[in-house]
Amino acid sequence: MRDRLRKLDFIDLFLWIVRAAIVAVILIGTVKTILSNPYTLRNWEDFIIFGIAQGSMYALIAIGYTLVYGVLQMINFAHGEFFMSGIFASTSAVAIPLARAGYLASHPIPSLLLIALCSILISIAISLLTERIAYRPLRHAPRLMPLITAIGASFFWQYYFRGLFGSQVIPFPDIPQLEGTVPFLHTFVLKSHVLVIFVTLVVLVGLNFFITSTRPGKAIRAVAENKDVAALMGINVNRTISLTFATGAAMAGVAGMLYALVFHQVHFFMGFIPGIKAFTAAVLGGIGSIPGAAVGGLFLGLFESLGPSLFLQSLGIPAFNQLKDVIAFTMLVLVLIFRPQGIVGERLKEKKA
């Protein structure tokens, strides 16, 4: 017993050293940056707005992880592919033909709505197929198994869509009405960023209404609470789980649309990194909690957009922007190690589904 305590202490000590080192890097870097002050206020505002826009996308994707986790206690590893499939397919099959016909430039609003609708529907279809084929049969299997099918499904969809639409980066058509900036307070904000933030707000409010006040939303919450009791109350559990996947995928479909508007390109591998980052966001906010996912996404977006300039640059790291993804992944690792219950969330009870 004593031997074991000593061992644990050693690991704890190691973890404390890691914590201290990271806090030191962030503090020293930040202080140095603030002292040397290489950026203007305008730069910082740009970083913040970009961070919010990017964070909105993470938030929307993170909701998919959190909803599914809440219901099945399972990490839906293929969620990034739901995000990719919708926008990748509707860019190739809807947006580009519309742009070619000139309709996108002359009627931007109906075309954008159509593209978004296709993106959402395709994401939902892919999510329902994946759930039905790869997850449902394994619902009572050991936890490792659905995780492995999820990885398999993820690779399958990536390369399936690559086969359908090609392996090259496909540019999303430019929409003239969305280019340029609008004045905001005393600065200028890209129109596309305004649209992203606005759409995210509307969608989140809608989702909140759906989950808290409608019958299907209540069914989702009931199933998340206790599947057996929910079934006894006359809720069709399988259908509700499908609905949960579909809701998450619809959010991912919207996020895909916003991604295309901000980054102007789509690619078959585009789901992987945002998927992992959104998962980080979901864990940050406390996995299983919808407001948590939104907050976590926003936080991660801001941190990622400010981080490299705030505390990496002044440490003398060359080409610090290359390490943007390292910041997100490090955050993922750290959060899972130190606060798996999330920054804002309460301690989850150990669920062993």
Binding site: R4, L144, I148, T149, G152, G163, Q322, F329, T330, L332
Partner: protein, 549 residues
């Protein structure tokens, strides 16, 4: 119409839908086109035709199988309907592809694809329709023949198909071993000739049928089990020693790759298969082993020590194991699915760092480390794959020996106990963190060994060689072979690393196939092709309970 009474067609629309979607998909994602030129039997049929006719035959077989006992002929009706259905779908597809501009959206629906689908002649849509109906009927008929005969036919067809696909390489081997006359008699223009194919099919099917009927018993003198074991070990060792001479340069190179992945598989098998820790960042240790080898031995400007391969090898293993220990310490207290994501994150962090300018002065960034010398034996540098083979063989032998011993030891049993149930294992006095750390460290060491040999084999290494796909590849091969099973890992490595190397066209759809394989294995055969006894019992415990209850 009493003939059609109680014909149950309720499942048919779904089967028709799935069969159509699969047939459309293999066409639209470019698989059919890719295999269009690959004849299995010269002048008779191509791999592409198997791809777009196979699903229909399979689902027709499935549909026909469901027909009630005593009314088997109903199966043929279902098969016919299914064939007609898929046939109509495909005819419409061909018509659409010919008359609309779909190529601007779906890049793989090309005129070449349509040519292949219509059997390369005008008005081929009818031929396509007939071919689909016929293959559906063939599938349905297969459900009618007795089990033994069906198995024999399928084994025969499978082996013939495999030989046909690999015939380009076989031809080269036959030429160099027995002369070109024999080779061209059997194989012409990269495919089997008709007569040898028929002979092969009949032979394999015949043997398979006889074996099922038990007509072929044990051949040769009967030996005691211990003697059989010695004889077998001796034969296998001999075969392994002379293998490069039989295989030739190219196949030895493929074997070497299989060996390296087998080595990694053995390590990951300890981590995932025995200890039940899903590690998706396994490539990180491979990279660490490779970079350590590169830094220690390289004669280029990034080389640190310039020591020899043999001195560096144990250091690489130690460094990788150490890295496993250090990375394992913080993460091993977390739950299984979080562990998977964290290790994935670690793998990505290491790859991005290796690519970044931050680490460039030490490990070369995207340009990697060059001029890594080959291993030397005395004065001889092991340059050729046939020479490198023996280095890998020794590595694999050591790793196999170690993992067998560890698996059967008390530590192995602790791992398995932990995999089954952590709480119970802890209650039994197993220190979870230490036990997990040990698995992680040993697994990392194996991976480091593979990485070190890899670096020396290639002579230069780049961060791009160490992406997530390697981890997924290793994971897939141990799952396909059988979690926790050492022979299974070898079979997995041969199937998942060897076959894609040999079937070059396949490389493009390798990851798609892996995805399908991972899902179907988990759904239908989670214990793998060559299951370990323990896992098999565990996974089928429920079935037995059901039968008993």
């Amino acid at each position: 119409m009493s003939f059609f009474k109680d014909l149950d067609l309720r499942k048919l629309p779904m089967q028709l839908l799935v069969a159509s979607i699969i047939t459309l998909s293999v066409s639209a994602i470019g698989m059919v086109e890719l295999f269009g030129g690959r004849f299995v039997i010269t002048g008779l049929f191509t791999m592409a035709q198997i791809l777009f006719l196979g699903p229909t035959a399979f689902f027709a077989y499935r549909a026909a199988q469901e027909a009630p006992e005593g009314k088997k002929w109903q199966g043929m009706i279902k098969a016919l309907l299914l064939g007609v259905g898929v046939g109509l779908v495909m005819v419409v597809f061909v018509w659409l592809a010919q008359n609309l501009d779909v190529r601007s959206i779906f890049i793989n629906i090309s005129p070449r694809l349509i040519n292949i689908l219509t059997f390369e002649h005008a008005g081929g849509a009818t031929t396509l329709f007939i071919a689909l109906v016929l293959s559906a009927l063939a599938g349905g008929a297969l459900a009618l023949v007795p089990d033994k005969l069906r198995n024999a036919l399928l084994v025969g067809a499978g082996v013939t198909l495999l030989v046909g696909l690999l015939s380009e390489i076989l031809a080269e081997r036959l030429r160099s071993l027995f002369g070109s006359q024999l080779s061209s008699a059997i194989i012409a223009s990269k495919a089997l000739q008709v007569v040898p194919a028929a002979v092969l099919f009949l032979l394999v099917a015949g043997i398979s049928y006889m074996r099922q009927s038990g007509r072929i018993g044990k051949v040769g003198p009967t030996l005691k089990p211990s003697q059989t074991k010695i004889v077998r070990t001796a034969l296998i060792s001999l075969l392994l020693l002379v293998l490069p001479m039989l295989l030739g340069s190219y196949l030895t190179e493929v074997t070497n790759n299989i060996g390296l992945f087998f080595l990694m598989g053995l390590g990951l098998n300890i981590v995932v298969g025995l200890a039940g820790l899903l590690d998706l960042g396994y490539v990180a240790f491979f990279a660490i082993g490779a970079y350590t080898m590169a830094a220690l031995t390289s004669t280029g400007h990034l080389g640190l020590a310039g020591i020899s391969f043999w001195v560096a090898l144990p250091i690489c293993v130690a460094v990788a194991a150490m890295a496993g220990f250090i990375l394992g310490m913080p993460v091993l207290r977390m739950r299984g699915d979080y562990l998977a994501i964290v290790t994935l994150g670690f793998g990505e962090i290491i790859r991005i760092l290796a690519l970044s300018d931050l680490m460039k002065p030490y490990i070369g960034g995207a340009q990697g480390i060059l001029n890594i010398p080959k291993p030397m034996v005395g004065e001889l540098a092991l340059i050729r794959p046939e020479q490198m083979y023996y280095v890998i063989l020794i590595g694999v032998a050591i790793a196999m020996f170690m993992s067998t011993r560890v698996r059967d030891s008390q530590i192995g049993r602790r791992w398995m106990a932990m995999r089954e149930d952590e709480d119970v294992a802890e209650a039994m006095g197993i220190n979870l963190v230490n036990t997990k750390l040990l698995a992680f460290t040993i697994g990392a060491g194996f991976s480091g060994l593979a990485g070190a040999i890899f670096a020396s084999k290639l002579g230069s290494i780049f961060p791009h060689s160490f992406n997530l796909l390697i981890s997924i590849n290793v994971l897939s091969l141990i799952i396909v072979g059988g979690l926790g099973s050492i022979p299974g890992t070898l079979v997995g490595a041969i199937i998942l690393v060897g076959l894609p190397e040999l079937l070059r066209e396949f490389a493009e759809f390798r990851w798609l196939a892996y995805g399908v394989l991972l899902v179907t294995m988990m759904l239908n055969r989670p214990e793998g092709f060559i299951p370990s006894e323990v896992i098999k019992r565990e996974l089928h415990a429920g079935d037995e309970a059901e039968q008993a209850g």
